[in-house]
């Protein structure tokens, strides 16, 4: 029961951070275009040029990566069809 509550909390936090990234999309693109950044509690807590660099930095800071949203925003004029 406690584990379920914990997992739900984790999911909700991740959704909230994702919504926040969407709301702040233009602002974050200006600042982090071409980079990778980590979000927790509606804040960018770290950024780097690559995912590996960001992971190294977050691990060095003893951050729990499972709880973080790791994001990148495609450049303004870039498009791709999945």
């Amino acid at each position: 029961m406690e584990e379920k509550a914990q997992l739900l909390k984790l999911l909700k936090a991740s959704e909230e951070d994702s919504k926040w990234v969407s709301e702040k999309y233009d602002e974050l693109r200006e600042k982090y275009e071409g980079k990778v950044f980590a979000v927790r509690g509606k804040k960018v807590i770290d950024s780097a040029e690559s995912v590996e660099q960001l992971m190294d930095e977050l691990e060095r800071k003893n951050e729990n990566i499972a709880l973080l949203l790791i994001e990148s925003i495609p450049p303004k004029n870039a498009s791709f069809i999945l």
């Binding site: 997992l7 999911l11 959704e15 994702s18 919504k19 990148s72 999945l82």
Partner: protein, 149 residues
Amino acid sequence: MPRIHCHVRRFIRGKPFPFAAFLLRTSKIVKGIDALIDTGSPFTVLSTKDALTTRLPLTKMQSGETVSLAGYRFFNHPLGSVIMNFRTETDELVEFSFSSMGALVPTKIDRKMLSEIKDIPTIIGNDFLEEFGLVLHYNPKSMIAYLES
């Protein structure tokens, strides 16, 4: 089963797309993932970026079926059985045990390639929707999305 909560977020060119947050669990990984729900994709795949954030050893995973996505070639490396937990609109946790999930591993791994593909998200594809009998309801204008059985 109650509806599975999805959210609509800005993505390619700042346009809205349907995403679902889930917890990916294996014997070695617990990670929150935000995935694009793509009914045009036959596969459910963990993006290269998300694979790297879980510290999966990509260089040892260059095997599996090759797939083309967004102009890049990847191995769809099977991850084996994974547990995916989603949140319902009534705030319950639902669990799916899924054995067809793969990881997108570039056929060529170098710094330039990893930088170019970092915007490609994890995808929940038709295989997942079909296996669990889920339907995507998505209205981009009103920013509503959910999965329903």
